[in-house]
């Protein structure tokens, strides 16, 4: 801890900081966080599946809890849920672990000392939670974006997807097409910004609280951050799920002519009027 008072105590950097150069790439501290996340999840998956049994033990039950929670929610979203339940669960677990890594002791404080551009001595933390870096959240949001466009095209066909973008009365298309296009892309922005904003704001809040009142008070906010980390992981996964489910379901509300297997067991509100 430096001796000076005020802002030097609070370490806030909006972009991930570079640890070392790896050829043309700069290896940042959020990459360490992302690698740690993957490593933890991979190890957990390997360890649990290696000795899994039909009657789960205590540890296996703990790991099956999030899987059961998410598959319970996803299976209610659409009849084709088996196609994307793995993706949604992957989002949930990755973001959950990435968020919670930031709360481990030493993550924001242990680092490399260096002299920055203004001549001050600054500490670059070795590990930064991956979801406090916009590159990571934007990458996740891009995957979600590609997937819900893919499911929309797969369920409705390319022409059906285009018809969805053009809007209902065709003469309104010049007005509706840009609006629909913007709303598709705004999902990408809001998904990535929501996660980044929440986790980054949480990091800043913790740093500020530790600088203001180092004893006991930060514990309250750490508890809050555990809750927020979980809620944000859930929100991202549920929004991605809803986008995919609506991309699939839009088909059934627009034309009932070509009913397929997916629509058979999901009667929409409009159908009783036809009967």
């Amino acid at each position: 801890m430096p001796e000076e008072e005020g802002e030097s105590l609070i370490h806030v950097a909006i972009e991930a900081e570079e640890l070392f150069q790896l050829g043309p790439l700069s290896f940042t501290n959020s990459m360490v966080g992302a690698l740690l996340t993957s490593l933890l999840l991979g190890l957990a998956a390997w360890y649990i599946t290696r000795r899994s049994s039909l009657v789960p033990g205590r540890l296996q039950s703990a790991f099956e809890l999030p899987v059961e929670l998410m598959s319970g929610i996803v299976s209610a979203s659409s009849s084709r849920w088996r196609g994307y339940v793995g993706l949604i669960l992957g989002f949930f677990l990755t973001i959950l672990v990435a968020n919670w890594i930031g709360l481990l002791p030493g993550v924001g404080t242990i680092g490399i000392t260096h002299i920055d551009a203004s001549g001050h001595e600054a500490v670059i933390p070795i590990v930064r939670p991956a979801s406090a870096d916009l590159n990571f959240t934007l990458g996740l949001a891009l995957v979600a974006f590609v997937m819900f466009v893919y499911w929309g095209i797969k369920a409705n066909g390319p022409s059906g997807y285009l018809k969805e973008l053009l809007g209902e009365p065709l003469y309104m298309a010049p007005l509706m097409f840009p609006i629909n296009l913007i709303s598709e892309f705004s999902r990408l922005i809001s998904l990535s910004m929501r996660l980044f904003g929440n986790v980054f704001a949480g990091e800043v809040l913790l740093a500020t609280m530790i600088a203001l009142a180092p004893i006991l008070i930060p514990a309250v906010f750490l508890g809050l951050e555990v809750l927020f980390g979980f809620v944000q992981a859930l929100v991202f996964a549920l929004l991605a799920m809803t986008y995919i489910a609506t991309a699939i379901a839009e088909h059934h509300t627009t034309d009932h002519g070509e009913a397929d297997a997916a629509g058979a067991d999901h009667p929409t509100a409009a159908e009783p009027a036809h009967a």
């Binding site: 909006i14 929610i73 809001s190 910004m193 929440n198 980054f200 549920l238 809803t242």
Partner: protein, 75 residues
């Protein structure tokens, strides 16, 4: 002085931008609790739309946060 004006703008953006989401979240949570009180069995059905609703309301606050971060770090 320039930095101070940006800091003032950032504070105003965040503070004013938090009013709307705050009201919206309050309405959403109160209605969800009301629904839960009337029909406790509907907890499972309410949960997912509730989370999605508060996430969308909260996104507006996050936009304000992004604007104020831009004002502090970029502008």
């Amino acid at each position: 002085m320039e930095g101070n004006v940006a800091a003032l703008a950032a504070g105003l953006a965040m503070g004013l931008g938090a009013i709307g989401p705050g009201i919206g979240l309050g309405i959403a949570v109160s209605k969800a609790m009301e629904a839960l009180g009337r029909n406790p069995e509907a907890a499972g059905a309410i949960f997912v739309p509730y989370i999605l609703g508060i996430a969308l309301a909260e996104a507006i606050g996050i936009y304000a946060l992004v604007v104020s971060l831009l004002l502090i770090f970029v502008a």
